[in-house]
């Protein structure tokens, strides 16, 4: 293992595991590990992507329309195991989102060019790249289907059902609960509108939010508000 990279870090990332040891060590030798405190902006919208980021702890949020006068949009939270920037291997490499550290994070920064070279030397690892991108496509299409609903309550209802399902299926990772402002920013609605709908759902006995802020659906949410 190269001296400058934590030897446990590659275990978190199937993409790094996909390379033979020699290729992986060559790759890690040109990487740099960083600590970033909450509030640090890792990418700004529009900036050139020269590096892939492998997030190994903490939480990073992806947002867009952050410069616009209106509301920003929240893509979601990237937790340990997330990789940012892969599509820049094959597409225009201007960042389409802003990445901001929400909870103190640790990440490995790997030059795009080094990953390109490693993939040229060991093309079978493209399968792992494709897997990350396929997950991206799946989640992005879900996001669009949700955003494209013209009825604001239908968007909120769908998001709450997704969050509830995720909380039940996975061991809930601490810190991944969404604030009411984040809920609003995930579905392109105003905070006031979301707060009003949540209050009514709670008082109607449909929903509760525990002390960690995690939503739980108590009975099927009404189809219409």
């Amino acid at each position: 293992m190269t001296p400058n990279i934590d030897s446990l870090l590659p275990l978190l990332f199937p993409l790094l595991q996909a390379f033979p040891v020699a290729e992986r060590e060559k790759l890690l030798a040109v990487g740099h590990e960083h600590d970033a405190t909450a509030g640090t902006v890792l990418w700004e919208e529009g900036q050139r992507i020269d590096d892939i980021l492998f997030i190994s702890s903490g939480i990073v949020v992806a947002t867009s329309n952050t410069q616009a006068a209106g509301r920003f949009f929240l893509y979601g939270h990237m937790a340990a195991g997330s990789v940012a920037g892969l599509h820049a291997l094959q597409m225009p490499n201007a960042a389409q989102v802003q990445l901001t550290v929400q909870e103190d994070a640790h990440y490995l920064q790997l030059p795009l060019s080094a990953l390109s070279e490693a993939l040229a030397a060991y093309p079978a690892a493209w399968e792992a790249v494709a897997r990350e991108l396929a997950q991206g496509v799946f989640h992005l299409v879900n996001t669009i289907n949700l955003l494209a609903q013209s009825n604001g309550y239908h968007r909120l209802r769908r998001l709450l059902i997704q969050l509830d399902r995720r909380a039940r299926n996975e061991h809930q990772q601490s810190g991944l609960a969404l604030s009411q402002q984040e809920l609003a920013a995930r579905i392109g609605l105003s905070r006031e509108m979301v707060n009003r709908m949540l209050a009514q759902l709670r008082s109607g006995g449909y929903l509760e939010q525990d002390e960690r802020g995690i939503f739980k659906i108590l009975q099927p949410l009404p189809r219409e508000f």
Copy 2:
């Protein structure tokens, strides 16, 4: 070349080109070519994806929320050279969109399982899969950034600028012009709202639409409506 597949068809698809001749012929031998007339539904939302579709002529539109009471959302037009279903190689294979033939189309249908086997036999072709998926990620993020703007005019302005740029950069493919209803369905607004904004932009001398329906921006669109 296998007898049942048009020998020119694979030339259209970098993914098919990525395989060595022997693998490609084996793959094409289990494919089927189809003609589909306008109005044919190729996939319904939620149905299981068992096949990859390689569209070699005509136009297929991808939509979502088609079953909902509200408006449907238009992802866009898939022209010759488009491939549908690739992310199902690695992700849950329920269709997230509806695919409908808009202009009589011709396509190759290839079992997902056969493509999986070919990729296992020749993993370097995953690079071509990753490329298709990276394009998907790029366009989906663009779509979200557009949809997430809370101001309807800002969405329309951004879409018109994209369409104008594309028309100038590419040799415009006939049939890819968007009707006013399609424009509205691309940005999640009502047809009436879009028609009203377009009429004002036209009368203000900002915009013209030629006889094929293709938009051209005559002077920079105002920042606010």
